[in-house]
């Protein structure tokens, strides 16, 4: 089930809200949230709900055993390793096995038959949440969860199940058993949900239509113009931001409706003036996860400069792979790794470079990065990028159509990439009152798009 659907908005959400608030006891409330979360996942993936449940049960017992055997360091380390191997093994089988076998087949004269494996939606998100739990218990950053239902709720809670944000266990541990809702929090939740819905449905889907049209063209043979490839790249840049941050906003908003507070996942990444800053603002929950559970345990930047560079390499290779089993994601991760290393080695932060140049440099590589990310293969990405820097056949009719027809939404996408609405309207004492009618209009327009059955892609199948 997806948030931007009539089924979710007009059936699932009101039923869960009514059931939840008709019961005062938090234990029963959690049970309702758990059952509805399992139903939410089962609706999209009936078979895979059992895989998720098995993971929860196994990691629940491993958590208990780690806690029980704290004094036996070797045993608890072994148990942690067991959990990591199990969880990453599961992720490997579902997400990376076909990719690995195809690499083997292409390197060696082997003809291993590629299995037909369907990737369970959200497996990367819930695997990382499970790992977060077991590692937090092991490192004593969190207490062991003795109630399996509470652990199951943490893993499967529907707002963040299929598209994040990746909620770390130590952040939410207390909230599961002790949280207090309020009208203000609920209202804030509605606001965030509507903002997210509008971002996804009105902006991201419109940008996605244009981007998909252009990316599905054969850049080498279809006579796609210079202007059109740039438009495609820019529209995809907006699509992925508004889709992903829209989903995060909806997840955060839904969390608040049920009195949970998730951490922010995006912070206006397209205003960044360096790649380092971009990654502090983009998919924050993934960045902090890798920082806390990979980069720092590897030694972070506390050891030699070379070791820091190696550690960063590991993190960025994994970051790329996390997004999907394809060379494009690896190349995308490596590109960022190289740029971050350059920024670190040459200390670009403290160099006297005009902000405009910094901004252009950052966005240029971010856009190129998204082209690699969106392409089906490295060759397609190469051809696309090559076309972006080949100055012939400057413009075609399709460019005019897609630009003129989508100009309003493109300008909105550009405007809302900057914190202007937040600072000028939502934080203004008088203009603040405008937000309620604006939110109502955004909600109604979003529902009209959904009801109309407009283009509504789900872009997290790879994750």
């Amino acid at each position: 089930m997806i948030f931007a659907s009539n089924l979710f908005i007009f059936v699932f959400l009101p039923i869960v809200l009514i059931l939840y608030y008709s019961i005062p006891n938090i234990k029963y409330r959690n049970t309702i949230l758990l059952l509805s979360s399992l139903g939410f996942y089962w609706y999209g993936e009936p078979r895979f709900v059992f895989i998720m449940l098995l993971s929860i049960v196994i990691n629940y017992f491993i958590g208990l055993l780690i806690d029980k055997n704290r004094t036996k360091k070797k045993l608890s380390k072994f148990l942690l390793s067991l959990s990591v191997i199990y969880n990453l093994g599961l992720l490997f089988i579902y997400k990376y096995l076909i990719f690995t076998l195809s690499i083997i087949n292409s390197i060696f004269p082997s003809h291993i038959k590629l299995p037909n494996i369907v990737l369970p939606i959200g497996i990367s998100f819930f695997t990382f949440q499970i790992l977060s739990y077991v590692i937090d218990v092991y490192t004593k950053k969190a207490h062991v969860q003795k109630n399996i239902l509470n652990l199951a709720l943490y893993i499967s809670f529907f707002p963040q199940l299929i598209a994040g944000p990746i909620v770390r266990y130590n952040v939410i541990e207390e909230q599961i058993v002790k949280r207090k809702g309020s009208l203000d929090l609920f209202l804030e939740g509605i606001k965030r949900f509507i903002i997210g819905l509008g971002k996804k449905v009105i902006i991201a889907n419109t940008m996605g239509y244009t981007a998909d049209y252009i990316f599905k063209s054969n850049i080498s043979t279809d006579g796609v113009s210079f202007a059109l490839v740039w438009l495609g790249a820019i529209c995809y840049t907006f699509q992925i931001y508004y889709d992903f941050s829209g989903y995060s906003d909806m997840a955060i908003g839904l969390g608040k409706m049920f009195a949970f507070n998730f951490e922010e996942n995006f912070n206006y990444p397209y205003i960044s003036k360096s790649i380092t800053e971009f990654w502090r603002r983009w998919h924050i929950s993934l960045g902090t996860w890798f920082r806390d559970y990979v980069y720092i345990p590897l030694g972070g930047n506390r050891k030699s400069k070379i070791r820091t560079i190696i550690n960063l390499g590991v993190v960025w290779l994994l970051t790329g792979l996390w997004h999907g089993a394809n060379w494009t994601f690896i190349a995308w991760g490596i590109m960022y790794y190289i740029l971050l290393c350059i920024e670190k080695i040459f200390d670009l932060k403290n160099k006297k470079i005009p902000n405009v140049i910094r901004y252009i440099y950052t966005m240029l590589f971010v856009i190129i990065g998204w082209v690699i990310f969106r392409s089906d293969s490295l060759l397609t990405a190469f051809n696309y990028i090559k076309r972006m820097f080949t100055f012939n056949n400057f413009v075609d009719l399709k460019f005019y159509e897609l630009l003129i027809e989508n100009l309003g939404i493109i300008l909105m996408a550009l405007l809302f990439s900057f914190p202007i609405i937040k600072t000028k309207i939502f934080n203004n004492k008088y203009l603040n009152y405008l937000k309620w009618p604006i939110l109502i209009i955004v909600f109604i327009i979003s529902v009209s798009y959904i009801t109309k059955g407009t283009y509504n892609p789900f872009i997290y199948f790879n994750f």
């Binding site: 089924l7 908005i9 009101p14 009936p46 159509e401 027809e405 109309k452 059955g453």
Partner: protein, 400 residues
């Protein structure tokens, strides 16, 4: 004050979600049940396990919900209004075949690629040859197309006119062509509904006049001015939201007028409607208005699944068999057609003793030559919109 606004907002939001859910379930309970029944009968359902079956039923609920959600038409109107505010001339849907384009003259339309006319040419030439051999007058009606390069946004290219022209140019000498484009006014906005893909009733009636004059000249029907011109025109203002209008809502393209045309003179007919092949839907006897028109569709608040266009013909039927009980000749007519003919054949039928109307799209793989041999018409007319050249359903007939 601030707290009151906040509370009101929460109540309004949750109340609205709940109200929508309740009203959808209450108002469309039958649709939910019927769709669920259809799923239960499907092969996929029968071959699934219990859990998968529940999932399939849940998916059927979602599908019905999307079709029948409370205030659906209002949402589509709002969607269209927003597209208008955004100054959009091309309105896309998830399904790109449903894209709607707004022309400079206000007509809503669609664009088409270069069409392949090979099979059309072959089939229609063969039908014309067969007609000639059997001494039947075969007439192809070239219907005008709504788009011109000047009226479309400059970045939209449409090839439907070209496809239609190429088809006519490819016919052999046995195909007689009545080119309505030459005979009707050039201003497209006068010929077509703004919000629908069909021509308007006035154009359909004018086309009837041109067609019957042509048939009279070839078949000696003894056509009189009464049958040609003695008709009553009643225009219903802002009543019709056509196919394109329903996709974009009433604020995007506005409403259409619909003119209800009936003969002023006395008529007496028997009409047998076949919804599908061999299945009689109804038998109607009486005047033109009672047998060939359905004025109950002249209603602005009509369910948007229906259409004011159904005033003539009540939607597509496989076959209509019209016997004129007050004929002024003994001639018989066969009309092979799409929905463009729905406002033409009722008027034509007044000029023949018997008229059979076949929509090959519903009468798939009809043994047409056998059918013609049995019926022995004096004339066959083939009337279709150029946009139907992009499917081959209308020529899906057997030649033997």
């Amino acid at each position: 004050m601030k707290k009151i606004i906040k509370n009101l907002f929460i109540i309004a939001f949750v109340g609205f979600l709940t109200l929508t859910l309740s009203c959808t379930v209450l108002l469309s309970a039958e649709d939910f049940k019927s769709d669920a029944r259809t799923i239960r009968k499907s092969e996929e359902y029968k071959s699934s396990n219990k859990l998968e079956r529940i999932n399939l039923l849940a998916k059927s609920i979602e599908s019905t919900l999307n079709k029948k959600i409370f205030l659906k038409d209002n949402y589509i109107d709002i969607y269209g209004l927003f597209q208008k505010v955004l100054q959009k001339k091309v309105v896309h849907e998830g399904d790109t075949s449903l894209t709607v384009i707004k022309e400079k003259n206000g007509l809503l339309t669609a664009s088409y690629p270069v069409g392949n006319i090979t099979n059309y040419t072959k089939k229609l030439n063969s039908l014309a040859d067969f007609s000639k051999e059997n001494d039947i007058y075969f007439l192809y009606i070239k219907v005008p197309w709504r788009n011109t390069d000047d009226s479309l946004p400059f970045y939209i290219k449409d090839n439907c006119q070209d496809t239609s022209d190429r088809l006519v140019a490819s016919f052999n000498d046995n195909v007689n062509v009545l080119d309505l484009e030459e005979l009707l006014p050039k201003e497209k906005e006068k010929l077509f509904f703004k919000t629908d893909h069909h021509w308007n009733t006035e154009t359909a009636f004018a086309s009837y006049q041109h067609i019957i004059k042509d048939l009279d000249s070839k078949l000696d029907l003894n056509l009189t001015d009464k049958y040609l011109n003695d008709y009553d025109f009643k225009t219903y203002k802002n009543i019709f939201l056509g196919t394109y209008g329903k996709r974009t809502g009433k604020y995007y393209g506005g409403w259409d007028d619909f003119t209800y045309i009936t003969p002023k003179f006395e008529t007496n007919l028997q009409v047998i409607n076949y919804r599908n092949v061999g299945k009689v839907e109804d038998v109607r006897k009486g005047s033109f208005a009672d047998t060939l028109t359905y004025p109950e569709f002249l209603d602005k608040d009509l369910d948007r699944d229906l259409s004011v266009y159904y005033t003539y013909g009540k939607g597509t039927k496989a076959e209509v068999n019209i016997t004129n009980l007050m004929p002024y000749n003994n001639k018989k007519l066969l009309i092979l057609k799409d929905s463009y003919a729905d406002i033409v054949y009722p008027f034509l039928s007044l000029n023949f003793k018997q008229t059979k109307v076949v929509d090959v799209r519903r009468y798939r793989a009809i043994h047409l030559f056998r059918y013609i041999n049995k019926y022995q018409p004096d004339a066959i007319i083939f009337l279709q919109s150029p946009l139907d050249l992009y499917t081959e359903d209308l020529i899906n007939f057997q030649e033997k």
